[in-house]
Amino acid sequence: MSGFAKPLKIALGLIVIAGLIIVPMNFNRYGLFILSQWAVMTIAAMGLNLTLGYAGQVSLAQGAFVGIGAYAAAIMTTHGWPLPAAILVAIILSFAVGWVLGYPALRVQHHYLAFVTLAFSTLAFLVFRNESWLTGGIYGISNIPRPHIFGIATNKPLPFYYVCLGSLAIVSLAVWWLIRSPWGRAFMALRENPLRAQSLGIDTRRYTLMAFAIGSALGGVAGALYAPLTQYIDPVPFNLSLSLDLLMMVIVGGAGFYFGPFLGAMIAVLLPEWLRFTEGYYLMLYAVAVMLLLIWSPTGILGILDRYMAARRTKAASALRAVAKSRLETAQ
């Protein structure tokens, strides 16, 4: 973008960040809970955006990874382990499982891959529910503690919100770094044309597995935060519909756009809350809103921005072409 836009962007970013830190200070518990939920879901959606939006690997299992992370954290912290250790385990565990789930992606793509991951997500739910010795089964795990960070208790909603926000910040930075690195470009190559990518030395197998594993690990992080956020988990929240919700966040926000998950999660978490005043109609209205958004811009909210930017770029290209044209004319 052009010269003045960059400082403008940075200023805008700083304002938003400051806003996220300061404004919630006088929110009530409910507001903080919702905002924390937004942060957590954004992390999970960023993971899916990496797998799906950038690397083009359709996954309907992100909810299962949130579940894996949540159970890992719940089991460990209720046994006295500190949360950071639990997050680490959640990351490793979901990274490993995600890596394994990536293998089908080496054989099948697109909708077939979606089906495999869909099946996985339902299988994960069954395990959460049926293996009561580990997961507490249908009764779930209650009294999940919230951590002490640097000696500060985060039992109260505001400190815990900052835990979520801080995690979001760290994850955002890491993801930003990743997608602007050659890895990010290789992920996009998987999405755009794996055949060509292979013949350019891009190890599509390894990158595909990585895309799955990293995306899943972020799901795990989100889960590990979700458990202490609600302080009680059972299998129901991690069923297929969470995976579908996360998918919706990514697509509605704009798949393959860095800020897509932030907006998508905002819509999926906050919009229903705003619509609650309509009581029985709120889910209906929410569904209609999502449909309208997609009708308006099938490539997601950020797709609109992209169209605008593309128009600017083509203007520049047109100008270059015009220069060439005038040169040609004078040459004659």
């Binding site: 990743l178 602007r180 690195s181 050659p182 890895w183 470009r185 290789a186 996009m188 190559a189 755009e192 044309n193 055949l195 060509r196 990518a197 292979q198 013949s199 350019l200 030395g201 891009i202 190890d203 599509t204 197998r205 390894r206 593309a310 770029r313 083509t314 520049a316 290209a317 270059l320 072409r321 060439a324």
Partner: protein, 247 residues
């Protein structure tokens, strides 16, 4: 001169049809070999078997004397073999420049250094040079999917050169490319061939291009090698005229 590529008795069947039926040949270091033959005679399939895009039903491929049959395309590329495609194969939503950087990045550093290192893997200059050469300057930041047919074809060729390959297999690089640009492309191939001692195998139906570029030409028909020799010999071969060139 030693053989860079040795292909022995490669076969490929699709169901009952045998598309490549026992093809053997070698390519010498620094050579430019032409590959011609009627439509559907198995040229592209042969390429795909050599490059690991398809698993051959039989036969062996050796690179520098080492067997590479069954290696994945990316592994072969790491060994210095690159290619272009007959049908358009670019990354449509990435810009032209990004396409080119992508084409070279896996040849810079290793996985880890690519994660922590520079985001363009130090390739922006090289990419810009390529862009300049193929006269795509005004389109450098445009998505590659918006290029014209011939421009995409050129971009595809440019990508094959980004990794500094030793052996390049080009599948109809001239199709749809404007003759004057084609002459440039030919010069470029010759230059790379001379300076870097790179080896080329070129499938092409454009006889002028093949005959003026290649030192040897191999002719295929119905999955088999029909003739092999210097361009002028091949051109006069009655079997080749009958099956391929017409009168």
């Amino acid at each position: 001169m030693s053989a860079v590529l040795e292909v022995t008795d490669i076969k490929k069947n699709f169901g009952g049809i045998s598309a490549v039926d026992g093809v053997s040949f070698d390519v010498r270091e620094g050579e430019i070999l032409g590959l011609i033959g009627p439509n559907g005679c198995g040229k592209s399939t042969l390429f795909n078997c050599i490059l690991g895009q398809l698993t051959p039903s039989g036969g062996e491929v050796k690179l520098d004397g080492k067997t590479v049959t069954g290696l994945r395309p990316s592994e072969l590329n790491k060994l210095g073999v690159s290619r272009t495609f007959q049908l358009l194969q670019v990354f449509p939503k990435l810009s032209v420049r990004e396409n080119l950087i992508l084409a070279g990045q896996e040849h810079q550093g290793n996985m880890a250094s690519r994660l922590v290192g520079r985001s363009d893997a130090g390739l922006t200059d090289a990419a810009n040079q390529m862009i300049g050469f193929f006269k795509l300057d005004h389109l450098a930041d445009e998505p590659a999917g918006g290029l014209s047919y011939g421009q995409q074809k050129l971009l595809d060729a440019a990508m094959a050169f980004m990794g500094g390959p030793r052996l390049v297999l080009l599948d109809e690089p001239a199709g749809g490319v404007n003759p004057s640009m084609l002459a440039d492309l030919k010069d470029r191939l010759v230059a790379i061939n001379r300076e870097k001692n790179a080896t080329f195998v070129v499938i092409e139906h454009n006889m002028e291009f093949v005959m003026s570029l290649c030192s040897r030409v191999m002719v295929m028909a119905e999955g088999k090698v029909l003739a092999m020799g210097r361009p002028d010999e091949v051109r006069k071969n009655p079997a080749v005229i009958e099956a391929y060139l017409g009168h």
